[in-house]
Amino acid sequence: MIDHLDQFFVLLQHWLVSFLPAFLRPAASIVLGVAAIVSLFPALFALTTVFERKGLARIQNRIGPNRVGPFGLLQPIADGIKSLTKEDIVPLSADAAVHFLAPVVLVVAVFMGFAVLPMGRNMVLVNMDAGLLFYFAMGASTELSVFMAGWSSRNKYSLLGAMRAVAQMISYEVPLLLSSVTVVMITGSLSLTKIVEAQNHYSYGLPHWYIFTPWGCAAFVMYAIATTAESNRSPFDLPEGESELVAGYHTEYSGFKFALFFLGEYLSMFSISGLGTTLFLGGWSAPFSFLTWVPSWIWFFSKLMLSIFIFIWLRGTLPRLRQDQLMNFAWKFVLPMCLLNLLVVGLWRFMGDAWLRWVLCSAVLMGAYASMSWVEMRRKHIGPRSYRNAE
């Protein structure tokens, strides 16, 4: 019974496909998998918008959406109908073809990333040998669509927002890749299913997730910073900083095209959280060995929603960075720390199973962070608050 529940979606797929003639079955099972992804994640997106607005409202001491349905739960349906019925305005001087293509390219590229994520035991659409590489290749293609949107709108805010977004995404892609490479170095495989399998062991009832190793913890922190910047979320939301740029690269989009950008942004947040879950948090494996009876997909989606919650929490808490702070942070702090972490992973890999490697790796990382923060804090000159204009 438990096993059946764990494999529920896989069995459902096999059962549905079995009605078809044999030569159609491989294609039909792929179509079913794609349909599941294409319908599930937008539904999750609709839920998350309510969740986010409610959560932000709670943080800001408001009530949030509460008019449509019980507790405002039907708000996304109202929003969807609104964006579908709104007039689609294309600026007269805009480049119509590129303006139309940009949101489509974005959403397609983002959806492709879900193909290699293992969402449960045996639940992966394409079990690719180079899965991680595929994911990053698809992620890299979204940058171009952001540029296309900003450039084709013929609006200074759009273009500025797009330039900021692309510069930011390129800068933070380097630490994103470098922190993921550590996992590949230890697992010895680019396949995401193999990475999850490698973490799905327990000793003393505790899992062997990579986040519970010194290098894994450091890499996860860097990964979290880089993903927040990659998905243009606060505190890295300069590309759409509404106080400076109206709405950034999608200023000139209205109606359903705007909804597509919104969808693409949230989907990329889901998929990048899913990748982080897979790389560092053990994917679909249970957090304790006595909980392994709970279906694997429940664990994957719980971890995913936990990451989303942290994204929302950060958005409600942190102020926006300045452009120079953003770039300095990426190139002068995150990148050197990622490079150091690569060395530490090499040490970890070749020091054998002794306890000494725990001590040495932790000491190197903590020493680096402590000395860096000591140097930076000395440079800061923190004193009593001074006012420039309000004295």
């Binding site: 040998d129 180079a130 590489l133 290749a137 698809m138 171009l144 540029f147 390129i170 010895g188 495989s189």
Partner: protein, 166 residues
């Protein structure tokens, strides 16, 4: 030569042609991206996963972005009045034909040299990694040195000039 190959070849050629013939420079850059994507799909069609995804990651993710940045930061995408075609197009044509002839000669020669390949080789990402840090480590390091030198050069070009104290 399957049907898929012809579709992908047509896509790649169309992208490359559009990159040459379109008037707007940004459109040319985007068309070039289509050609890059077509090449990546051709690699995938040949079962070369690593090469295909690396092509997408490097060329669409980085080179195309670099190209559009260069266009926007230098002179904008507006088409000049007197057209975009160079006057010495004939010399360009001759050079392009020469390079194409040399490359196709080399490719056709390789068929004769490697004619005893019977089975399709299967290359995994791991083998490529081992080759890169094993047999080909020197070329990789030389390329890395070259790129580092280029980065340092770019930083020096972009660095602020020191202001003279008055």
């Amino acid at each position: 030569m399957s049907f898929v190959f012809y579709v992908l070849a047509a896509l790649t050629l169309a992208g490359a042609l559009a990159a040459m013939l379109l008037k707007n420079t940004v459109h040319c850059a985007l068309a070039l991206t289509v050609a890059f994507a077509g090449l990546a799909l051709l690699f995938l069609n040949l079962d070369a996963q690593f090469a295909g995804f690396a092509q997408i990651l490097v060329y669409i993710g980085a080179v195309a972005i670099l190209v559009v940045f260069a266009i926007l930061l230098t002179r904008g995408s507006e088409t000049p009045r007197d057209g975009v075609y160079s006057r010495n197009w004939f010399a360009g044509l001759v050079i392009a034909a020469g390079v194409f002839a040399a490359l196709s000669w080399a490719v056709l020669q390789s068929v004769r040299v490697l004619s005893n390949e019977t089975a399709e080789p299967t290359v995994t990402a791991m083998q490529i990694g081992n080759a890169l840090v094993g047999r080909y480590v020197l070329p990789v390091e030389i390329v890395a040195l070259l790129l580092t030198a280029a980065t340092i050069g770019a930083v020096i070009v972009a660095m602020h000039e020191k202001e003279d104290p008055k």
